[in-house]
């Protein structure tokens, strides 16, 4: 028997209350793990970017377009193998405007050369290249929207207003996670030709395949140097950096998730603190007896902190024990298939697991601090009197 062991045993003295507390904290830990996994997975989306691609966007912002003529200039830069361009279309399914998926207008002739990890059956690819209204749909999105080759599909434009009727010419898969399978790509020309002259011939960003990954920074600098003299300067970066800047648009969501995570942790502390405080109040006379036997206030504090740490850790293990099989065993496949663009690898990683366990332990300890200090201050006589 040890002092900390004695504190730990107290944690299970009222099994019903302890059980409810463990369940409450475990659910909070589960929610925390899920939210952290969303953020981690989101960040992974930028990590899986191809290393031999660089992207050029307007120096000011991702949302300010560049003149299309820049594409030809970039194509001539030393080290650039192939170039394509794209615009964020921001379309919605006309039948179901609430469904979110990425829609991009791309240069069909060059797009698949630069994104060579996309796999499209040859006959579908040929058909798409020929069809001005043709679209390529990721396999996950096709399943989600119940689309098959030959279907007609109407997008409602938000950035480019109107109803845009597309032909589903191909369904792509991918050999790497650098391209998600829940996006829709269609011809840039189709939209561009329909725009008023002042909005025409603008591209969102230019993507270049380079000779080898190592020359990325030099090629990027060379491209930006050329356009330094132009009215509209550029910012060229790795595909990973582009993905990160794209995700910057979702920073408010990430911030909101962070805030919710903090609120969950505060709830966790309150649940634990309430249980510990109730237990300590009920055991006041016992602490008085222990003090009478010669135990010091520091011993009483150790008992209580041992109890709160045990409770936090047990609840943490229970929460992680729920979260890992739930996410890695079932939820991950669903999310990766249906939201692969944002969450290409949706798994609870070791860091999140350790974070959750560490936080449960630390917050468990923290929740015991105030009751421990108060119990340590009790006068022996007053504590013993509680039994009379």
């Amino acid at each position: 028997m040890t002092l900390i062991g004695l504190g730990a045993r107290n944690a299970f003295r009222n099994p019903f209350r302890t059980g409810l507390t463990v369940v409450g904290v475990a659910v909070a830990i589960l929610a925390f793990v899920l939210l952290r996994t969303v953020i981690t997975s989101w960040n992974i989306a930028s990590e899986v970017a191809a290393k031999d691609r660089i992207a050029t966007r307007h120096k000011l912002s991702f949302v300010v377009p560049l003149p299309k003529r820049y594409v030809d200039t970039i194509r001539e830069v030393k080290g650039v193998q192939a170039v394509t361009w794209a615009n964020w279309f921001g379309g919605k399914d006309a039948r179901n405007p609430d469904a979110f998926f990425a829609t991009m207008m791309v240069d069909a002739k060059t797009f698949l050369d630069v994104y060579d990890e996309m796999v499209v059956p040859p006959e579908q690819k040929a058909r798409w290249l020929e069809d001005r209204q043709g679209a390529l749909v990721g396999s996950s999105l096709a399943r989600q929207l119940n689309l098959k080759v030959g279907d007609r599909f109407t997008l409602t434009g938000t950035i480019f207003p109107g109803e845009w009727v597309l032909n589903i010419d191909g369904i792509y898969t991918a050999t790497r996670k650098s391209i998600d399978q829940s996006s829709l790509f269609f011809h840039w020309d189709y939209v561009n030709e329909s725009l008023p002259s002042d909005r025409r011939d603008n591209v969102g960003w230019v993507v270049s395949r380079i000779d080898e990954p190592g020359i990325g920074p030099d090629v990027s600098a060379a491209i930006d140097k050329i356009f330094d003299q132009y009215d509209q300067q550029t910012l060229t970066m790795s595909e990973r950096a582009l993905n990160l800047s794209f995700m910057g648009m979702f920073s408010a969501i990430i911030k909101a998730i962070d805030i919710v995570s903090i609120i969950i942790l505060l709830i966790l502390v309150m649940i634990l603190a309430n249980t510990i405080a109730m237990g300590v109040r009920e055991r006041t006379s016992e602490y008085g007896a222990l003090r009478a036997l010669g135990f010091m206030p520091s011993h009483i504090r150790i008992f209580i902190l041992g109890e709160s740490a045990t409770l936090g850790l047990v609840a943490g293990v229970a929460g992680v024990g729920l979260a890992v099989p739930l996410v890695n065993g079932g939820l991950s496949r669903f999310i990766e298939e249906n939201m692969g663009g944002m969450f290409p690898y949706f798994r609870v990683d070791t860091t999140t697991t350790l974070q959750a366990l560490g936080l449960a332990l630390v917050l468990g300890l923290a929740s015991g601090v105030v009751p421990a200090i108060q119990a340590g201050k009790l006068s022996v006589v007053n504590a013993l009197r509680r039994i009379e």
Partner: protein, 230 residues
């Protein structure tokens, strides 16, 4: 003075006063009290509720400090000791028996008895050995692995007595040790206290309302309004 006295006072109180304020009123619990208890005595303190008997016991046990006067126990002036020193004094010199036993329900009898030894430098096996010996002394060698909820009131109090004697204290302080027990169990506990006094030489100070319990003591002090009235 106790029949068991060998002439050496183990407890000496001189001019002890204990008072506290309740609102604007000052309440005197003990009033200029003098008391000597000889080593090896078995003394009982009786009196009506509020007479100050438990407060007196608390001062002797170093659980509370006198407002004025001197409290000397086992050669130590308790009024001069810090909280930490008082805690060490209690663990080395005193054994406590409470009316409601105050055993820890999460520990079995053996672990409850071992509890005070956690404050010593003894190793685990030696602690266990001593706790087993103490439980044998109180006749509970067959209940060592029982938890308090599995014991009768009398058995619980015997475990508490084993806990009180496990580190061989000079003085045992018992606050209403039979208050929660039936007559038969109370008699057993009082017999056990008598044995500890006679056979093991422990000085026993007992607060009680029970005249039959007080009869077992060699000296009975009566308190009223904070003064000894015997």
């Amino acid at each position: 003075m106790s029949e068991a006295s060998n002439g050496q006072a183990i407890v000496e109180l001189k001019g002890v006063t204990k008072s506290y304020t309740r609102g604007k009123e000052e309440v005197h619990v003990l009033d200029n009290l003098d008391l000597d208890v000889m080593k090896g005595a078995f003394e009982a303190f009786m009196g009506p509720s509020g007479s100050g008997k438990s407060t007196l016991l608390n001062l002797i046990a170093g659980l509370d400090q006198a407002t004025s006067g001197q409290v000397k126990v086992a050669g130590q002036q308790l009024t001069q000791l810090s909280d930490g020193q008082l805690a060490k004094f209690r663990s080395s010199t005193l054994g406590f028996i409470f009316q409601q036993y105050n055993l820890l329900p999460v520990l079995n009898a053996l672990d409850n008895v071992e509890l005070p030894l956690l404050l010593t430098n003894l190793g685990s096996s030696e602690r266990k050995k001593r706790a087993q010996t103490a439980l044998r002394v109180v006749g509970l060698e067959d209940r060592m692995t029982h938890f308090p909820r599995q014991l009768s009131g009398g058995q619980e109090q015997r475990v508490a007595i084993a806990r009180a004697i496990v580190n061989d204290p000079q003085i045992i302080v018992a606050d209403e040790p039979t208050g929660d027990l039936d007559r038969k169990s109370a008699d057993e506990i009082l017999t056990l206290l008598g044995t500890l006094n006679k056979d093991f030489g422990k000085t026993i100070l007992m607060v009680t309302h029970d005249p039959l319990a007080a009869e077992r003591a060699t000296v009975v002090h009566k308190l009223d309004k904070g003064r000894l009235v015997r």
